[in-house]
């Protein structure tokens, strides 16, 4: 196994996931197996190979920088878990003591 419990917990924290004890163990084993499998890539010499991050065209197409009003405030807010009719409402970000 290549990935420790602590590493799974660290990565889960970075990804904003909270894993139960069972799941930490399960994922450590499964992700470890997958990483072992991925390690076969080290058999290949890739020195000097330009990485391919996508198969698309390398030229970026430009379009005029024009403001377009494609949706209304109501539409944007329609799926929000909580709003005041004008804005998204989220829990407090800065605690009262700050």
């Amino acid at each position: 196994m290549k990935i420790s419990r602590e590493e799974v917990l660290r990565v889960a924290r970075l990804a904003r996931l909270e894993l139960s004890e069972d799941k930490v163990e399960l994922f450590a084993g499964q992700v470890g197996d997958i990483l072992d499998y991925i390690d076969q890539l080290n058999r290949l010499d890739t020195s000097g190979v330009e990485p391919m991050y996508g198969p698309g065209s390398k030229t970026t197409l430009l379009r005029p920088d024009e403001v377009r009003r494609e949706c209304t405030r109501e539409q944007v807010l329609a799926n929000a878990p909580e709003t005041d009719g004008s804005f998204f409402i989220v829990p407090r970000i800065v605690s009262a003591g700050h």
Partner: protein, 490 residues
């Protein structure tokens, strides 16, 4: 017409154009078929019966329009694509209540062409899976045998088309998610060239791999859907500004396979393929030879590395794409959280299923400080080599042929405990996504042992869908027609 749902899309078009069938009749036939088959296959997450019937009646009132090539044709859309006013969950609890207010470009183009959207099809959560067992809502069953999976992640679309619930469906393919379920369900599935169809309105999984494509009962039907969807879109900067050929004209122009060279990669035709799959695929290649095609061996030496490359790149991109699900603007939100970070964490933990969490963990790990070069950069370099392999192969052949999948549809629950084993089911399809080339799954028979459909995969150079479709069309007409799915009452 009691058997209207059994017609192909192309046959229905003719009937609609001549007003022998109304759009409302076509829509009703599908809705009745959905009612009859859904209890067995559970292919759909949302059926918009009222909206579809209203749209069909509006079309009928205006009359057939020769300028709209899909006038009155009922279609089904995978649930990771947005369609205005219809839920789009991507098979996830985190988007359970999400109703988009806009159409994906692919959907908008189908609607503009006169299509009637019947509903949204089930899928593995965020398109992560090869069996549609990872849907947060329900597993879909294979119409050929309800004890077996329909494949994934577009398993809902594949099962729906095989069961004649609609005249075609949209799927998405990140590592084989159109071709593999098409193969398992005995239908045609086309993953176009990366950039051929705009991804605007697609809930992203692996952005450099994802592509939207048609799933239909015939090759000609796939050509008709691609014709409508293909082409540049200013809303997707990765969509290609390449001219779109006339695919139907390409189909009409080809009567045989003379002059075509088909490459057979040794890596796709060796061990690891079930004998019944190999047998069907070899018979199809022999048929292609009988139709005039020349076959040559081509090396794709790096094929064995494709799955490893894929699971680095796809999960890295997924971990980034799925960061937007934070409970702020849409989707599930935990109501008890006291501060923002807690809200993010709890909302995501409650909203994402196990496979999605596993892939986010893997993707975040391979991108994290200290590991980026070892995993992500390395995988991207091998990806470049894989593409180079294809470029070299296509110097000596026009098409590449091989099995879609090493096996026919496996049994429900058979693979769920071993993710790596499940990932290996995509070994023959993943390379096309990494390289960005088009691939098509063509039904080529039923396995001798399982009695389940087998798909032959054909791949072509980037933007050569015209060659791919026209060759597949010729071959389809020569191969024995599959019977109707055995798992459904007629």
């Amino acid at each position: 017409m009691s058997d209207l749902h059994l017609k192909t899309l192309s046959e229905l078009r003719g009937l609609l154009a001549e007003r022998r069938v109304s759009a409302e009749e076509a829509t009703k036939a599908c809705l009745e078929r959905i009612e009859a088959t859904e209890p067995t296959i559970r292919a759909l997450l949302h059926v918009s019966a009222e909206t579809a019937l209203a749209e069909a009646r509006t079309l009928d009132a205006a009359g057939p329009d020769p300028e709209r090539p899909l006038w009155g044709v009922p279609l089904i859309v995978k649930d990771c694509l947005t369609a205005k006013g219809l839920p789009a969950t991507a098979g996830s609890r985190i988007l359970e209540n999400f109703v988009p207010f806009y159409d994906a470009t692919a959907v908008a183009r189908l609607k503009a062409a006169g299509a009637v959207i019947l509903g949204k099809s089930n899928m593995d959560e965020f398109a992560m899976g090869s069996s549609t067992e990872n849907s947060a809502f329900q597993p879909t069953r294979n119409p050929w045998d309800p004890e077996r999976v329909p494949g994934g992640s577009s398993g809902g679309s594949a099962a729906a088309v095989a069961a004649c619930q609609g005249f075609g469906a949209l799927g998405t393919d990140t590592g084989g998610s159109i071709r593999q379920p098409a193969s398992f369900c005995g239908i045609v599935g086309l993953k176009p060239t990366y950039g051929r169809v705009s991804r605007y309105g697609l809930i992203a999984y692996g952005s450099s791999l994802d592509q939207i494509g048609p799933m239909t009962r015939t090759v000609e039907d796939a050509a008709r859907l691609l014709q409508v969807m293909a082409g540049h879109d200013t809303r997707d900067s990765t969509s290609a500004a390449e001219p779109v050929p006339d695919y139907l004209a390409a189909l009409s122009a080809r009567g045989d396979l003379k002059g075509l060279t088909i490459g057979l990669p040794e890596e796709y035709w060796s061990e690891g393929v079930d004998p019944e799959v190999a047998e069907c695929c070899r018979a199809a290649v022999s048929q292609a030879e009988a139709l005039g095609a020349r076959t040559v061996p081509v090396p794709l030496k790096l094929s064995e590395y494709a799955v490893a490359v894929y699971y680095v790149i796809a999960t890295a991109e997924a971990s980034s794409n799925l960061a937007r699900f934070d409970g702020v603007r849409y989707g599930h939100r935990d109501k008890q959280a006291q501060d923002l970070t807690e809200m993010y964490t709890r909302s995501r933990t409650q909203g994402f299923g196990d496979e999605v969490q596993r892939r986010i963990i893997l993707g975040t790990y391979v991108l994290s400080a200290g590991y980026y070069d070892a995993y992500y950069r390395k995988a991207a370099q091998v990806r470049a080599l894989l593409r180079r392999d294809f470029d070299t192969a296509f110097q000596t052949c026009d098409l590449i042929a091989g099995p879609v999948c090493p096996t026919t549809a496996f049994r429900v629950g058979q693979m769920t405990s071993d993710p790596l084993q499940m990932y290996l089911m995509d070994i023959f399809t993943i390379s096309a996504n990494l390289a960005g080339i088009p691939g098509l799954s063509l039904p080529c028979g039923l396995g001798r042992d399982s009695g389940m459909p087998v798909g032959l995969q054909l791949m072509a150079k980037p933007f050569a869908e015209d060659v791919l479709l026209s060759a597949a069309d010729v071959l389809e007409r020569a191969l024995p027609k599959l019977p109707r799915p055995a798992g459904l009452a007629e």
